[in-house]
């Protein structure tokens, strides 16, 4: 009998710090773990426990997966105390992943807040890999402070490759010359017709709610306003009940949902 709870061991190849308390862990596994943007793994350190972490990389040919993890609690704290060469255990990938058919031939608006950039990074990589499939890609990214911006160097590269990268922070420091304020204050900088574009959103729940609501008011159709939700999870496979919201399990029915799917479920968005 196949045991879905049995993790496989991976080896941390590289740990790349990304702003305060956040690091990108590149993990190599013996067998390939094919994953799609928007999916997640249950990641564990034996003795500390398991946590759901979204994939931050595109599935490649080299058996690696990148996980962008913020030091937030017991398990992520244990993960952060690991070094390159240490084992990290994975099972998955789980979840539905981002729908890509709704993006074909359209301008894309990616809205991210804080570490909410992590699941959207493979999506941006995908659009850069297939530029003929989509129109203009705009990234609106907000962080609390400039030193909490993740993938900062990579974003420069994205800019050079034609992505309209717009950054904002809640609180500026001395060196900061960019925008200050909420990401939802940057709509006027998006040079796309929002009615015809597709949006992918991830960040704190208040930001998701605000961004989804505003894009809907701008005339973007509900099924093209897409988000991915975070929840406490213990199993990742629809059994433990922790991520249950409305009649849905965020782990197996999501974590990616369109505005149409979640707007009526008060349990989901007014949590």
């Amino acid at each position: 009998m196949k045991n879905i709870y049995l993790p496989v061991s991976g080896k941390i190849e590289e740990i790349i710090p990304q702003g305060r308390d956040v690091s990108l862990f590149r993990v190599r596994t013996q067998m390939p773990l094919d994953h799609a943007p928007g999916q997640f793994f249950m990641v564990s350190v034996w003795g500390a426990g398991e946590v759901p972490i979204s994939v931050a990389s595109l599935s490649g040919e080299d058996n690696t997966v990148e996980l962008c993890i913020r030091r937030a609690g017991l398990v992520t704290g244990a993960i952060h105390s690991l070094k390159a060469g240490d084992p990290l255990w994975l099972r998955g990938p789980y979840g539905n992943g981002f729908p890509l058919d709704v993006s074909r031939g359209r301008d894309i608006v990616v809205v991210a807040g804080g570490i909410g950039m992590a699941p959207l990074r493979p999506l941006i990589k995908w659009f850069m890999k297939k530029p003929e499939d989509v129109g203009q890609v705009t990234l609106l990214y907000g962080a609390r402070t400039p030193d909490e911006i993740v993938f900062r160097e990579e974003m420069e590269d994205w800019k050079e490759r034609g992505i309209n990268v717009l950054l904002t922070v809640d609180r500026a420091d001395e060196g900061w010359k960019g925008h200050v304020g909420l990401v939802t204050g940057l709509w006027q900088e998006v040079h796309s017709d929002l009615k015809r574009a597709t949006a992918y959103i991830c960040g704190p729940e208040v930001m998701i709610k605000a961004a989804m609501g505003e894009l809907f008011l701008f005339g973007m159709p509900e099924e093209r306003i897409i988000t991915t939700l975070e929840a406490h999870m213990k199993c990742g496979v629809g059994k433990c009940g922790h991520c249950y919201a409305g009649p849905r399990y965020i782990c197996t029915d999501g974590p990616v949902f369109s505005y149409r799917e979640i707007k009526n479920y008060s349990l989901l968005l007014s949590r």
Binding site: M1, K2, N3, I4, Y5, L6, P7, S9, K11, Q30, S44, V45, W46, G47, A48, G49, E50, V51, R70, A72, G73, L74, V75, T76, G77, A78, S81, L82, G85, D86, P87, E205, E230, A231, H232, K234, C235, V237, G238, K239, C240, G241, H242, C243, Y244, G246, P247, T252, L267, R271
Partner: protein
């Protein structure tokens, strides 16, 4: 030929002793207090068949309260862990070279026969089957389910809290059981439905005789009398419609939540509550990954990274419990998430059990108090 037999009552303990040779025999026993619990049976005469509902339900033999899943074996000297399990601090964990560790599957493969189960609990297990074995199949549940034989008994003396009759989950079953017994005074009417149940009875066919017309008549009479004995006649359909139609006042759930003690008793005793948490427990020679019953009524149940509590308000947690059973279960599995066993009514100190709340909602409709 129908899979129906007669078992003389004085053959019962012999039959159970024979079954015990191949399986662990579990039955309803009275514990030191006065609760009825399902436990391993030492003395067959101690099994109580006309007992009130057991607390908790026999679900604990398919999804135990404490359920070790996996064990990571490591050589003792590599870990400077204390001998007793202790809370883990983030800076202590396993560091060891890649690929040398061995993960053992702690799958429980014990064969069991659970005797004296009520019809409502069998109905609940049939729903658990659909939940645990859809999508990703839960291997621990599946293994135990495969190795467990249930012998259920038709209830002819429902508790005052029972309301299975309104839900079609009891007091007797037409299908879906392994073996069902009906007490006919000096003998049992025995029915087998599942392949394993049929095999079990046929394996000891010398104990069983074919039923006669009078036996069938007697069984029918027991069915009728069982149905007539219920104190409560509750349908969950009208409360469901009231909720869906938005006919409850805003403060209805506030009032219910105000009476919730957040003890989790209803969840632990409910044969259909399945939520669990997973935690790692450290030992000198390794780590065990175990799962434990958990409840959505606790504030920390949905706690996210950074300490965000999506269901911080108690009313949201109370509603979650009722909505799951009354609204979402019918949406996803086409059945109510309640079999009318009445255990929550026995346990709940705030008297906000399913029967009480369903009756209250219905009362609002009858009195025209709703908006």
């Amino acid at each position: 030929m129908k899979n129906e037999w007669i078992l003389e009552k004085n053959h019962l303990s012999y039959w159970l002793r024979q079954l015990r040779k191949e399986r662990d025999l579990i039955g309803p026993l009275r514990d030191e207090g006065k609760d009825i619990v399902f436990r391993s049976v030492e003395q067959i005469h101690e099994v109580i068949l006309d007992s009130p509902a057991s607390l908790p339900s026999p679900k604990e033999f398919l999804i135990p309260q404490y359920d070790p899943m996996l064990r990571l074996k490591v050589a003792g000297h590599e870990l400077a862990f204390p001998s007793r399990p202790q809370p883990v601090s983030p800076d202590v964990h396993m560091k060891e070279s890649f690929g040398k560790k061995r993960v053992l599957d702690l799958m429980d493969k014990k064969k069991r026969v659970i005797f004296g189960v009520r019809s409502c609990d069998i109905s609940a297990i049939r729903l658990l089957d659909r939940f645990y074995l859809k999508g990703y199949r839960d291997p621990y549940y599946e293994q135990r389910r495969k190795n467990t034989l249930f012998i259920s008994v038709v209830c002819n003396n429902p508790d005052p809290t029972c309301f299975c009759i309104g839900l079609g989950t009891g007091p007797y079953l037409e299908e879906g059981f392994d073996i069902q017994l009906t007490d006919l005074g000096n003998r049992y009417f025995v029915q087998a439905a599942s392949a394993e149940g049929i095999k079990t009875v046929r394996g000891m066919s010398f104990l069983f005789s074919r039923p006669r017309k009078t036996d069938l008549d007697d069984q029918y009479e027991v069915f009728l009398s069982a149905k007539a004995r219920f104190h409560k006649r509750i349908s969950l359909e009208s409360p469901r419609r009231m909720i869906l139609a938005g006919r409850l006042k805003d403060d209805f759930w506030q009032k219910v939540a105000a009476r919730c003690f957040e003890c989790g008793g209803c969840v632990y005793d409910c044969p259909l509550c399945t939520c669990f948490t997973v935690t790692d427990r450290r030992y000198p020679d390794g780590v065990e990954r175990i799962r434990l019953w958990d409840t959505c009524l606790f504030k920390g149940f949905t706690r996210m990274a950074g300490g965000i509590l999506p269901n911080e308000k108690r009313v949201l947690r109370t509603m979650r419990w009722y909505y799951h059973k009354l609204i979402h279960y019918p949406e996803t599995l086409n059945k109510f998430g309640c079999v009318g066993c009445g255990r929550c009514a026995i346990t709940c100190p705030g008297k906000i059990d399913m029967a009480t709340i369903a009756t209250e909602i219905k009362g609002l409709a009858l009195n025209g108090e709703e908006e």
